[in-house]
């Protein structure tokens, strides 16, 4: 089986210093890969490299069996990849929710009525059909996150790249988000600090530190901890 996405020995530099170094990874269908590591380790850069927003200094990026180096090659693959940005406001640029969700389909060849129909369908599937006519900049953080995801899902991607999907999401919308991602039947790469979320969703994990990846395993085991607690006075 051809991997959906793969990186081989990729090195990405910012100025002189490498942000990613000798990074290789392979994503197959139905893989749910978590990438875990400290701030500034290169997680976001890794996702950006996969969609061609960063170009490697050396190494290979293959998307859906196709080597990608030029903007045109990446452009062809992008509708099949949904990238959820860390900051929802960067991704929600249309006046109303429905327009925003229709943006992707409209640009990949749908007519406006088709795109809007797909948008409504996707919003309904996420349980947020009631937001359709709302103005995007007045949504709550959790609502914005879900609408961003709807904008990606409306393009019917085969892969999702999720950069801190639970950031700034309240409990109710968090439950919708988890349900939607659990029900997504493509592959995904997940960058998150939320260990519970990672454990619930991911099937595989990689650790990243200083721009280098290492395999990791996710498991649950009991721990004896001694750490400080705060208790209300009786």
């Amino acid at each position: 089986m051809i991997p959906l996405l793969s990186l081989t020995d990729v090195r990405v530099c910012r100025g002189e210093s490498p942000v990613l170094d000798a990074v290789s990874l392979t994503l197959r269908s139905r893989d749910r890969l978590a990438i875990v590591g400290p701030n500034g380790a290169g997680k976001t850069t890794l996702l950006r490299t996969l969609v061609g927003l960063e170009r490697p200094a050396s190494g290979r990026v293959r998307l859906f069996g196709q080597d990608c180096t030029t903007e045109a090659e990446f452009r062809a693959a992008r509708p099949r990849i949904g990238f959820l940005f860390q900051d929802s406001d960067d991704q929600l640029f249309c006046p109303t929710v429905l327009e925003d969700v229709a943006f992707g389909p409209l640009n990949t060849g749908c007519t406006l009525p088709e795109a809007e129909a797909r948008g409504r369908e996707t919003l309904a599937a996420l349980g947020i059909a009631h937001l359709a006519e709302r103005v995007t900049h007045r949504l709550s953080g959790g609502e914005k996150r879900l609408v961003c995801l709807a904008g990606l899902l409306a393009m019917r991607p085969e892969v999702l790249l999720l950069d801190e999907p639970t950031n700034g999401v309240d409990a109710a919308n968090g439950a919708r988000l988890r349900a939607a991602l659990a029900g997504f039947d493509g592959a995904m790469i997940l960058v998150s600090h939320d260990e519970g979320f990672v454990a619930e969703l991911a099937t595989r994990a990689l650790l990243i530190a200083d721009g280098r990846l290492t395999e990791a395993e996710i498991h649950t085991h009991p721990h004896l901890h001694a750490h400080p607690h705060l208790h209300p006075h009786p």
Binding site: R75, R78, P79, F93, P95, A102, F103, G104, V135, M155
Partner: protein, 236 residues
Amino acid sequence: MIPADLRLRLVAAVLLVLAASQLAHLGPAMAALALALLLALAARPDRALWRRLRHVEGFVALLLLTLPFAVPGAPLLTLGPLSASLEGLSRAALLAAKVTTAALVLLALLGTVEPIRLGAALHALRLPEPLVRLFVLTLRYLGLIGDEARRLREAMRARAFRARTDRHTWRSFGNLIGMLLVRALDRARRVEEAMRLRGFSGRFPHAALAAPTARDWTGFALLTGLAAAALLLDRL
């Protein structure tokens, strides 16, 4: 009477304000002012909206103070070398009525509309698409950047900053605006990338609007009819 359809509202607002700005006699101008006031009351604007009129009235006050002395005519009041004329006063009253009418029309027709929703209407009215896109994107990010600016101002206040008439203040505001601009450019880059990733090919969605209802057309006809009547009355 005010059409719910935003296209008709926009067109009506432009026609009404144009008509008001061309009135030349006090009588019709006063009639227009009364109608505009009724219209504004019918739109039920809240207090904040009424407060907007203050800005306009500043200009009106300046006119009322200077015009009577600048227009020659029958003297009404003499202050030293200056003399106020009846003609001047009536000219000032005419202008005040027109300026206020126009402001009230805008308040009534557009004051309660969420501005970003006008994008779809402007597009439907065949304004150049890039201009409409620019308009909605500006509005989309205005609140966000305004909040950023507000939080930075608060942090400055918490560090004992107080705006004065001095170089330190100007440099600090310059830095504040510079920082906002640099962050805005970063934001613009990320938004452009987000559009590119979603396959942007120059097609930006502007929601299709339902055709105006008979009620919308009636309201539109009524409003523009009144404007035409006021103009006609004025010219007779």
